[in-house]
């Protein structure tokens, strides 16, 4: 490897050729502040438009200060990262950014969690010397995401996520100069665009410009209503991240504390989306075997590969971008919606509560779930199967507001019957998990044999597109996995071009899967957090006594008492769905 020697703050540093000054400084223990720059190392995502100009440094012999995030080290370079010229420039630029930013920090959704706020604090800003007009833009509220563009600092992270990573192409810079904002084309609102509500823009927004639609107050109201029975379901990825909101190390599993906290919040029943994940495997796994069986039986009209359908961001994506292929994904509803449908029928009957009096709340690592539960097809007589979906972040706020000392809570269990789950369900929270869970069940159902090795290591990892062939007792099943919609697009394009050889593909909209979802605690550019959550998920799986969905006793009971068998008529009615062509839903107001 070719190396380069340079001097940074009087320190001689040797780095690989091609290293930026920012990275070289970091290696030398010098932390140059950054704002627009974002590097999710483990996910290979980088945003460096060099627009904020906070990371500027002085390089001897250059007329202007250089943005360290994009300036490559050269042999013999002499860099100064904190002399008076640099400090003054940096502080002045920060003051400029602050001068065009509302100072309503106290009541901002990002209060305490805002990178701009932190920077102002670290820089010791006490006065803004350059006050003037602030650029304003109308607020845009969609089912899942609020855009408060007055707080946009044009870091363009959201734009990069939306275009380069997700290839959804909704957000881009519009207007010019002082009036520049990041917005959908033709200044449409999000709900009139191709937005999938994946929430990756929210996940990377350094300020309060992009936030989730907050439903915590609806939940407080529902809990306070004596006529309502309020039940809650928690998605697998939440337990691997919620602890971060309470200062715990990333990767801490807080399943038991979370259940305890929810009980203290006053939910009548604390259930688990994992239960519904097991149910999903029953339906989706059976559907896969059914399609494969028909295909192997010579029916060439069977749509293959079958694509997973538990991710609502992904569902919106193909409805908008590949509507002609909407017969390929599994018709199985997502776990959130399966849970809602079962809760408002089977469970409501069981406890003798009318559908209207049962409020189903979901805790999700996801913002698209907010949109999903509002879809028309998931309600009966105007009453939705899932009433409110809140994010991991919102749950943390709710717990804090309710004076619950999360740290000191005991571990508690979920309630039954909808709280029991298997290890197969919990791995839904990471990329590769759904398909692994499906394989565990499908293998045993298909072969009638017991799995020797439950861990399908070949399906795990963080690479964006993975593939593996699983031997179903002589029948090689080709599995594809993609996370991040841009990678999903590649696999979809292959299918469209007739080049795909997969039998089944798992797709998750967010990089990393649900552990990296748009509703999770903010990673602030540290992708090791997402890796730590993934490890936690697999740890939870390994620690479960039952690790295959079809062995979940309450699932077995549910089929016996209520559904009959997978893909039964009742299942079709309650647990399956259909998709729409939304390519024409994009309108200009």
């Amino acid at each position: 490897m070719e190396t380069i020697k340079l001097t940074i703050d009087n320190k001689v540093v040797e780095v690989a050729k091609g290293t930026t000054v920012l990275k070289a400084a970091k290696e030398a223990g010098i932390h140059i502040p950054t704002l627009c720059y974002l590097h999710l190392h483990d996910l290979n995502i980088e945003n460096k438009p060099a627009g904020c100009r906070i990371c500027v440094v002085e390089i001897e012999g250059r007329r202007n200060l250089a943005p360290s995030c994009v300036t490559e080290c050269l042999e013999g370079m002499v860099v100064s990262t904190h002399n008076i010229r640099v400090l003054n420039a940096r502080k002045t630029v920060l003051e400029l950014i602050l001068s065009d930013h509302p100072t309503d920090c106290l009541i901002c959704a990002k209060n305490g969690n805002c990178e701009l706020q932190t920077m102002a604090q670290e820089f010791g800003i006490r006065k803004i010397h350059y006050e003037g007009e602030q650029s304003t833009y109308r607020e845009d509220t969609s089912p899942a995401i609020i855009r408060d563009i007055d707080k946009c600092i044009m870091c363009r992270r959201c734009e990069m996520m939306c275009n380069e990573v997700q290839t959804v192409g909704v957000l881009s810079a519009v207007n010019r100069g002082f009036m520049s904002v990041v917005a959908p084309a033709f200044e449409r609102n999000l709900d009139h665009s191709e937005c999938t509500y994946c929430g990756q823009c929210v996940a990377v927004c350094p300020t309060g410009a992009l936030t989730e639609v907050d439903h915590t107050n609806n939940i407080i109201r529902a809990l306070a209503d004596p006529t309502k029975t309020v039940i809650v379901q928690t998605a697998p990825a939440v337990r691997a991240a919620l602890g971060e909101e309470f200062g715990m190390e990333p990767g801490n599993l807080v399943t038991g504390k979370m259940a305890a906290a929810l009980r203290r919040l006053g939910f009548n029943y604390v259930f688990d989306t994992d239960f519904a994940a097991d149910l999903t495997i029953m339906e989706e796994g059976t559907e896969l075997l059914d399609r494969l069986g028909r295909y192997l039986g010579g029916d060439t009209t069977v749509p293959l590969p079958m694509l997973t359908s538990c991710c609502p961001g992904w569902v919106s994506f193909f409805e908008h971008q590949f509507p002609e292929m909407r017969d390929i994904p599994s018709t199985a509803r997502s776990p959130q919606q399966m849970f809602g449908a079962i809760a408002k029928t089977y469970f409501a009957d069981k406890i003798g509560v009318k559908r209207e009096d049962l409020v189903v709340v979901s805790i999700m690592p996801c913002l698209a779930k907010k949109y999903e539960c509002q879809r028309d097809e998931f309600s009966t007589n105007g009453n939705p199967d899932v009433d409110f979906s809140i994010s991991t972040r919102e749950l943390a706020h709710l717990i804090k507001q309710s004076n619950i000392d999360f740290d000191s809570l005991p571990d508690e269990d979920f309630d039954n019957p909808l709280g029991e789950s298997t290890g197969a369900a919990v791995i839904f929270g990471t990329t590769g998990g759904v398909i692994e869970a499906a394989c565990r069940t499908a293998y045993e159902v298909h072969t009638g044999k017991k799995l020797e090795k439950i861990d399908f290591m070949e399906l795990r990892g963080m690479e964006y597109i993975r593939e593996a062939t699983i031997d179903f007792n002589g029948l090689p099943i080709k599995i594809g996995i993609a996370h991040g919609l841009g990678n999903a697009r590649k696999l979809l394009q292959d299918i469209k071009d007739g080049k795909s050889e997969f039998h089944a593909i798992e797709i998750m909209a967010c990089p990393g899967g649900c552990i990296g979802g748009g509703g999770q605690p903010l990673h602030h550019g540290d992708s090791s957090i997402i890796k730590a959550r993934q490890k936690a998920i697999y740890r939870e799986d390994a620690g479960k006594t039952i690790r295959k969905s079809h062995e979940n006793p309450f699932i077995v009971k549910l089929y016996e008492e209520f559904l009959g068998k997978p893909l039964s008529e009742k299942s079709h009615h309650l647990l399956h769905t259909h998709y729409f062509d939304k390519s024409k839903d994009v309108t200009v107001e």
Partner: protein, 592 residues
């Protein structure tokens, strides 16, 4: 015989009208009016020595002619055929009297290289271009020279980019030629956007083939067969002429496949810009051509290495290209003999502002601002006093009296706090307020900022706001410090050339017109009277008769006073509408 009398404004101010009358009267008196005609002409561009009289057909050139000289000119020159020596122009260098205007130095003040065919040939007729050596340079390159030899000539000529940056053209070609790629591009930057500048438009309208030929030469040199002209859509005539010229060149086989049987192929397409100033920046221009948002990206990578769709791309401006065929034809040494040590050749300027001969000029590098303004531009309008000249458009600075005699070249202008820019040159006189001028340019930059980097997007807006505050009379001494600090930080930190140079008008006016800034904040005074808010209407006690007309007409009741007593305007209430001034019949209302 013809007697030509300069009727330009400069000469007009120095009694040319009386001179004209005298000449006519005396000629009639002497009965010469059938043989001699007296003609008033436009400006000779030599106002410093005006009034000017020229006798045709012998081209005798008299300077500083007074009305009293009329008789002598007629009696001596017209009647007796003897030149009036004392009125002849004296060459300042060798002190010789020069009679024939064609040999006078000031005629050589302008040298047209880039504009050689503008106003001379029919731009829609390729034959006329060919008759003027057109496509000879391309033919020479293709048949007699290697690409390396062409690069060498370009390097040796010393030609630097005329778009403003002044990067050596030959070096750019060399870098692009050394970039290894299957496809390369030659891009002509015709996104001229400085306020008041129209050099490139004029070249494309007057001589489109010179640009086409140069692009093909560049293509041969760097190994590209695709040319693109990025031109703003609001230049419809230039687009038309360029399209016609491209079609003609294709018909003649001077564009297309296998040009002149040499195996070299090259063709040109047009790309239209929507008129964003920042798209003149080469990376922003390339992004715009790619269909992306027109905003710059950090260099390196330079377009020469990774440009249009990631391919090596050589971007030169229109005027730069227009010089190329001449350099090939007449040689690098010839070109390098013109101009100064580090800036070779000529530069086209669009002269505008408070100057008599608004127009397009081309002068050798090293010409002084004084020569441009007084000898070519015909001096300041209405005989007013010169105050400043803005070069480099919104990226440049305001230069003053003290810079008038320094030779114009890239380095001198930067040293003086301005820059060459693409060639806009706006002249200001004593009626211009320098704070307002700075504000005008900032208004432009704020409008044209792409919004990508914070210093330019927000910083320039703040500069504008502070300047506005100053012109409203609300500025403080600290505001001037803020302007300076902010200006320097923007220069230091902005992403692209637009942002890095945008504070120049502010910084250079603060530097050169410090007193005016101070007056605006401490005395709340604008000496040129342009800042309306700083005007004060006062009543002159000597003239006021107490008629009450002003008080009755004041819409805000700012004027008090007894009938037949002296009236007073309350400055705090006054809205400076001017109604009192208009109504006062006794000239008692004054503006201070």
């Amino acid at each position: 015989m013809h007697v030509l009398v300069c009727g330009g404004t400069g000469c007009h101010a120095s009694e040319s009208e009386a001179l004209l009358e005298n000449l006519k009267t005396i000629i009639t008196d002497k009965g010469l009016d059938n043989e001699v005609q007296v003609i008033a002409t436009g400006c000779f561009g030599f106002c410093e020595k005006g009034p000017i009289v020229k006798i045709m057909p012998d081209n005798t050139f008299y300077t500083q002619v007074t009305p009293a000289d009329a008789r002598e000119i007629i009696e001596e020159h017209l009647v007796k055929g003897r030149k009036v020596n004392r009125l002849l122009y004296v060459d300042p260098e060798n002190k010789e009297q020069i009679a024939d205007s064609k040999h006078m130095g000031f005629y050589k003040k302008q040298l047209r290289i880039a504009l050689r065919n503008c106003g001379f040939i029919d731009p829609e007729n390729i034959d006329e271009y060919i008759a003027r050596d057109g496509y000879e340079a391309l033919a020479k390159c293709l048949t007699e020279m290697t690409p390396q030899q062409v690069t060498e000539i370009m390097k040796k000529s010393g030609l630097r980019g005329r778009g403003g940056g002044g990067f050596p053209t030959g070096l750019k070609w060399e870098i692009t030629s050394k970039s290894v790629s299957d496809i390369k591009y030659v891009v002509c930057n015709a996104d001229e956007g400085d306020p008041g500048a129209f050099m490139d438009r004029s070249i494309l309208e007057g001589d489109p083939h010179s640009v086409i030929e140069a692009m093909a030469i560049c293509g041969y040199c760097i190994g590209a067969s695709n040319g693109l002209v990025y031109i703003r859509a609001e230049y419809p005539l230039a687009i038309d002429r360029l399209k016609t010229a491209i079609a003609q060149a294709r018909n003649y086989g001077l564009l297309g496949n296998d040009i002149m049987g040499t195996g070299f192929s090259f063709d040109i397409e047009l790309r239209y810009g929507a008129g964003a100033f920042v798209c003149g920046e080469e990376t922003a221009l390339i992004h715009s051509m790619e269909g992306l948002r027109g905003e710059p990206t950090v260099k390196p990578p330079f377009p020469s290495v990774s440009g249009y769709y990631g391919k090596p791309t050589n971007v030169n401006n229109v005027e730069t290209f227009a010089n190329v065929p001449v350099i090939i034809n007449k040689g690098a040494d010839w070109f390098a003999s013109i101009g100064t040590e580090k800036s070779k050749g000529t530069k086209v300027f669009a002269l505008a502002g408070k100057i008599n001969n608004v127009g397009l000029i081309e002068v050798p590098m090293g010409t002084t601002l004084r020569e441009v303004i007084y000898e070519i531009g015909g001096g300041i309008k209405d005989g007013k006093k010169f105050k400043a000249v803005q070069t480099g458009g919104p990226s440049g600075g305001c230069l003053t009296e003290k810079h008038l005699d320094s030779p114009i070249d890239y380095d001198n202008l930067i040293a003086a706090g301005s820059m060459m820019g693409s060639g806009g040159m706006i002249v200001m006189d004593e009626d211009d307020c320098m704070v307002s001028i700075a504000k005008f340019y900032l208004d432009f930059t704020v409008e044209e900022s792409c919004g990508k980097c914070a210093p330019c997007r927000i910083g320039n807006k703040r500069l504008y706001e502070i300047l506005d505050k100053l012109t409203q009379g609300n500025g403080t001494r600290e505001d001037i410090d803020s302007l300076r600090n902010l200006g320097n930080v923007i220069k230091d930190t902005a992403l692209c050339g637009l942002g890095q140079t945008s504070p120049n008008p502010v910084l250079s006016t603060i530097e050169n017109f410090w007193d005016e800034y101070i007056e605006h904040v401490t005395e709340k005074k604008c000496r040129s009277g342009q800042c309306k808010s700083l005007l004060q209407y006062v009543i002159d006690a000597e003239n006021c008769v107490g008629c009450t007309a002003c008080a009755r007409n004041c819409p805000v009741n700012a004027i008090s006073g007894e009938r037949k007593g002296i009236h007073v305007i309350d400055q705090a209430t006054c809205i400076k509408c001017g109604a009192c001034l208009e109504k006062c019949k006794f000239n008692a209302v004054l503006i201070k």
